[in-house]
């Protein structure tokens, strides 16, 4: 993913990434499936089950 992000940035190509995380409810209720994303306002947690599973490649963080 880091390589794709670098290539996307260098070549000006937008991309998307499908992410995984353990899920308990799958309905946006339990907040166990979060991943971190870099936004203009700082780092944000988003739920893979409801806000994803596909996210903007350039915002996704690998942890």
């Amino acid at each position: 993913m880091l390589l794709m992000q670098r290539l996307g940035r260098e070549l000006g190509i937008a991309g998307e990434v499908a992410m995984e995380q353990q899920m308990a409810c799958g309905l946006g209720m339990c907040f166990c499936c979060v991943r971190s994303f870099q936004t203009a306002d700082g780092i944000e947690s988003r739920r893979v089950c409801i806000e994803g599973p596909v996210f903007k490649l350039d915002e996704a963080l690998s942890w």
Binding site: Q21, Q22, A24, C25, L27, G28, M29, C30, F31, C32, V34, R35, S45, I50
Partner: protein, 311 residues
């Protein structure tokens, strides 16, 4: 027809079944009709923005699960603007679960929630993840009395207090909450626990420790429901490992006036509806006209000696 209605203090519920905090949100409305529930219970909210714990936040262990979600919260303002209007379309009462790092913080947040549409406050003084090493207000009668006393002064809404099973004498904590003005108790939250992946040598949770919930918890929180119901005169709401109507009946026999269902909803999103229907069928089969007759109806009464029971 069985009468499923119960009263929790001054509040009437159409039936004794409601979700456990943190396992219920708007998304479940895609699967079940909230109008069928006894009440709706929100995820615990805090006044401030909170991020919650590192991932992985959940793990399966035997007949149970571990979670270390923590209390990620977008803050009380976001809740009032976005979640509250959504819940107002349903007719059953809305129980808003709150938490804060200090007793004064608890008082502050309930004052912000003095709004129509908020029917009941549930004070989560028990979440084992938020304070260092799992310490929580509800571990001691003294800290319970202080925080519940401040909450009582700060709100006129019905005040439910959710206890932790991570306490050596939960009956004493229950009495402290009652004396400080709680209208009902929720017994209980998750038990502090952990597990380790022996292949990687890593703890299965990012936070190392977390809360145990699901069927394995039931005999423990059932015993605590029994102890609390014996110790206080306010209603007790049973919670821990309920997935069938028979589980709910057990809690009511032990003294619970109503029940909350959490982890079972993750396994079967329809669990609460199945339990409601199962309770009606159970009462029918047993010739019980009103479900509230079950509360404390354990044969022999609620007064078996704990000393003898442990022998």
């Amino acid at each position: 027809m069985v009468d499923l209605a119960v009263k929790i203090g001054n509040v009437s519920l159409a039936n004794p079944v409601m979700p456990a905090s943190g396992t219920f949100a708007e998304g479940l409305a895609q699967v079940i009709s909230f109008d069928q529930l006894g009440a709706m219970v929100t995820k615990t909210i805090t006044a401030e923005l909170r991020g919650g714990n590192p991932t992985p936040r959940v793990a399966e262990v035997g007949q149970a699960m571990l979670n270390s979600i923590g209390i990620p919260s977008k803050g009380v303002g976001y809740f009032i603007e976005h979640a509250l209007p959504f819940y107002q379309q349903f007719k059953c009462p809305l129980v808003v679960s709150v938490s804060a790092p200090t007793a004064d913080g608890f008082a502050d947040i309930v004052q912000l929630l003095d709004l129509p549409g908020v029917s009941i406050i549930e004070a989560n003084i028990s979440c084992p993840n938020i304070e260092e090493d799992g310490n929580a207000f509800a571990m001691q009668p003294r800290s319970t009395a202080i925080v519940v006393g401040k909450l009582r002064k700060a709100t006129n809404k019905p005040l439910w207090v959710k206890l932790t099973p991570n306490s050596t004498d939960i009956a004493a904590v229950a009495r402290a909450a009652e004396n400080a003005g709680a209208d009902a108790l929720v017994v209980a939250n998750t038990i502090l626990a952990m597990s380790i992946d022996v292949e990687t040598f890593r703890p299965t949770l990012g936070n190392i420790m977390g809360g145990l919930s699901g069927p394995a918890l039931k005999p423990i929180t059932l015993r605590m429901t029994y102890q609390c119901a014996k110790a206080v005169n306010i209603p007790v709401i049973g919670c821990g490992g309920i997935s069938t109507a028979e589980d709910a009946v057990e809690y009511m026999l032990a003294g619970a006036s109503a029940v909350q269902i959490g982890t079972a909803t993750f396994v079967r999103p329809r669990s609460m509806i199945d339990v409601i229907e199962g309770l009606a069928a159970f009462c029918d089969r047993k010739g019980i006209k009103r479900i509230d007759e079950l509360t404390g109806a354990m044969a022999g009464g609620l007064h078996v000696s704990e000393f003898e029971a442990a022998q």
